[in-house]
Symmetry: C2
Subunit: 120 residues, 2 copies
């Protein structure tokens, strides 16, 4: 994440695609390894950092942080810090984040039937 090279061909290709095709644009935003699963969990209610971590076996704290930051940047989730010790931080979906629900549903439907097809 972090460092992207704005002079790379890859960067300008992505830019051009995003510009023309909203579906490619969307895919760039929610296409990260853990992104959809995080959103999926948050769609059913706000969660703390540690709670999310438990829901995602295998994720590292760094990855979780990165993905959450990216989601926050894209205004898909909001972050609330409580001034307590030990710290408490809660994440929840915004309105546009909530709107991902139908996307996720369609992906699930399609994924399920694709799995079935391939499994035959």
């Amino acid at each position: 994440m972090s460092e992207i090279k704005q002079s790379s061909t890859n960067f300008s290709n992505k830019l051009a695609l995003s510009d023309e095709c909203s579906e490619a644009y969307a895919s760039n935003i929610i296409g990260g390894q853990w992104t959809l699963v995080i959103c999926s969990w948050l769609l059913s209610g706000k969660l703390r950092f540690g709670e999310l971590k438990k829901k995602l076996p295998g994720i590292t704290e760094r990855m979780l942080t990165l993905q959450l930051r990216k989601l926050e940047e894209n205004r898909i989730i909001s972050r609330t810090v409580y001034a307590e010790v030990p710290p408490r931080v809660e994440y929840e979906v915004t309105e546009i984040g909530y709107a991902l629900k139908s996307v996720i549903t369609e992906l699930e439907v399609w994924g399920t039937s694709h799995k079935k097809l391939i499994g035959e």
Copy 2:
């Protein structure tokens, strides 16, 4: 593409996610840089390799080939070779490929409204 390391953490993470979440599974399949755009074009009719290339400014032949192969492996598109010279190869979506239409539509809808929100 080509070489994935089946012993990597990344690989097993993806596997585990795909296994549990159909939306992550779907995302793994259609998450490539050009995948959705290619599908999008093919949804409106079969196209030849060269035609696709023209529709996708910036794609290299290598990338186009790789993406088409992956789509074919995943049975999203089918490939027909005509025994002519110069060669003619046509690609078209399969049934499960056609079912991506609603996914793409939702992504477009969401992408468009997200763009709008961010643009404000």
